[in-house]
Symmetry: C2
Subunit: 333 residues, 2 copies
DNA sequence: CTGTTAGCGCATTCAA
DNA sequence: TTGAATGCGCTAACAG
């Protein structure tokens, strides 16, 4: 049986209240402090979080629902989220929603049942419906990567349109006039990037023809097939913007297996430099998201909401993307 | 404020004990059952897991420590583990050990502090030291992917030597006599696969020359560099065994960027068909682990250990690997 | 600064 | 089968 606060009381002769106060950071006479610390050490005492939670109505646990736990993007965010939470004494319960709205809603309900103090969601849903049980139970929610209109939740994300504009501007600067985009048309972020890219290109007098707009799923396959299709056209584009990690990976593989080479025959600007650049020749030019900052910010934010019971109007934290310049974009200018 | 069992009592007129009994699956008169169920529905009652845990000394939570939450291998296992646990009403707290033994030990201590009922570890450590606080607190542990000698823990894994032998046998059957291996020399599984491959090749009278034994880290980079090195030799091998997912990915990329092609110039047999085969041409021949079975078995096992308080001598569940035949191995015979 | 007391929500005796 | 009573380990009043 693990030691309880009573055992500390017996060994030190102090009262429960004094010991509890010490445990929660209150002021105690130095001599008593020493006694308590020794007893804790001797008895290998650890606070019973369930008993504490029953009184304080806090579990010191955060639920994290991710749209795909197998994706590198989620995995890396989870790493940073987990670090911050753990350093603050919070544990994270993770549930995978597999890009399924129903599962996502079940995850939130599961979190509530498990008495989490707060929830972080990397959403797959476009609608706010899945959050209703969190709302009802008054549990704070932070959205990561995507915001959801009308959700009333704080959100940490990048400006996807601006990020895509960066990519477009770089291609324009390098003199590319025949540009294509491979994007995910099944998710908010993909569509935003698509819009940002097309708009910037249009504004520059270089609208993207329909045959160079490759819509599809968020997958290596789509990147691979689309790049093959683009390469087989009589009028190939000179540059392609691949709007997420998986699409970039697939596109690069397609080029490498083809008779063409990057950047001599085709330029690529990718998205999310998760690992690819360590491996691929030439070094890829990439739009990069601040993964560490995003994960840490989301974790700090949920901790803040939990502690402050803050009911201010929701904030959007829009972080900056940047371009890591490699050698995958040829300068035609 | 959420409803408590007291509110159910007030509405139904029954006693706390009866309601509690119902909640825990006991027998209650049909009419009372109806009353209770209606009250639960009306009041939107949910059991307070912390209060329940305080009494039962169970948190219905399992800690999962993974060696790298960013890796596809861990991500996919987590998916299956999470499903089984959730379906049984258990939540999973995840901690990343980043392949660091110290972190791994801290993770276990953190789990204990959080009163988990059981622990699943996908270990990075070779030593059992990091498990000591689990031992002391008598918390069951299941190791996944790697066993640790003397740990006294149940374990779910594959037979890595046998798996590598399968790969060797396939190359032999196809008439390959100049074979190379790219492997991870920093982890148990990699070393086992290395040993299995070399042994089978030696037994067949085709020992692997040292210059064809590419030791290194578990990384895409190592696969990439090693394959490049092999390709640049005057006497190239005719086939290469890449012993994990990342190494396979790196090796494939290297070949695709080179003037050589697979399988005409060089055959590859890979490991862990996580996603690669959907994308790469030619379709890869792969040694595959039963990921779903592994994750589910580990989760079922920890649930069993938790419920049974089973103190039998530890078991090793060694699952079968198989080969998925693609077109990446040329038949020279 | 310290001690006494009550009670968080529930499961589990033991009687009835 | 049901009900009344007890306590899991801890925090938070409040009084000293």
């Amino acid at each position: 049986m693990p030691a309880t606060i009573r055992d500390i009381k017996d060994q030190t002769g102090l009262s429960l209240a004094t010991i509890s106060k010490y445990l929660n950071g209150g002021n105690v006479l130095p001599e008593n402090k020493v006694k308590i610390e020794r007893a804790i050490n001797d008895l290998d005492y650890q606070v019973n979080e369930m008993a504490r939670g029953l009184v304080t109505n806090m579990s010191r646990t955060v639920g994290v629902s991710v749209h795909d736990i197998g994706s590198l993007f989620c995995g890396i965010l989870l790493r940073y989220i987990g670090d911050v939470l753990k350093n603050n004494g919070y544990s994270m319960i993770i549930c995978d929603s597999r890009d399924d709205a129903k599962r996502e809603e079940e995850n939130i309900e599961f979190f509530i049942k498990k008495n989490v103090d707060g929830i972080i969601v990397i959403p797959s849903s476009q609608s706010k419906d899945f959050l209703k049980s969190a709302k009802k139970n008054n549990i704070p929610v932070v959205l990561l990567d995507r915001s959801i209109t009308g959700s009333g939740c704080d959100c940490v994300r990048i400006d996807n349109r601006a990020a895509a504009s960066l990519a477009a501007a770089l291609l324009i600067d390098n003199g590319h006039k025949a540009n294509a985009i491979i994007y995910s048309s099944v998710e908010y972020t993909g569509i935003e990037r698509y819009k940002g890219f097309l708009e910037t290109m249009s504004d520059a007098g270089m609208p993207i023809p329909e045959e160079f707009q490759m819509a599809g799923t968020h997958s290596i396959e789509h990147g691979y097939r689309s790049m093959n299709e683009l390469l087989s056209k009589k009028n190939r584009p000179t540059a392609v913007f691949t709007t997420n990690y998986e699409l970039t990976l697939g596109a690069v593989m397609a080029v490498n297996e083809s008779k063409y080479s990057c950047p001599d025959d085709i330029s690529i600007i990718g998205f999310d430099n998760l690992i690819l650049s360590h491996v691929v020749q030439p070094k890829m030019t990439m739009v990069v998201q601040p993964m560490k900052e995003m994960g840490e910010k989301a974790a700090q934010l949920i901790l803040f909401k939990i502690k402050s019971k803050d009911k201010d109007s929701p904030m959007e934290y829009v972080l900056n993307t940047s371009i890591e310049v490699g050698n995958s974009v040829l300068n035609l200018a």
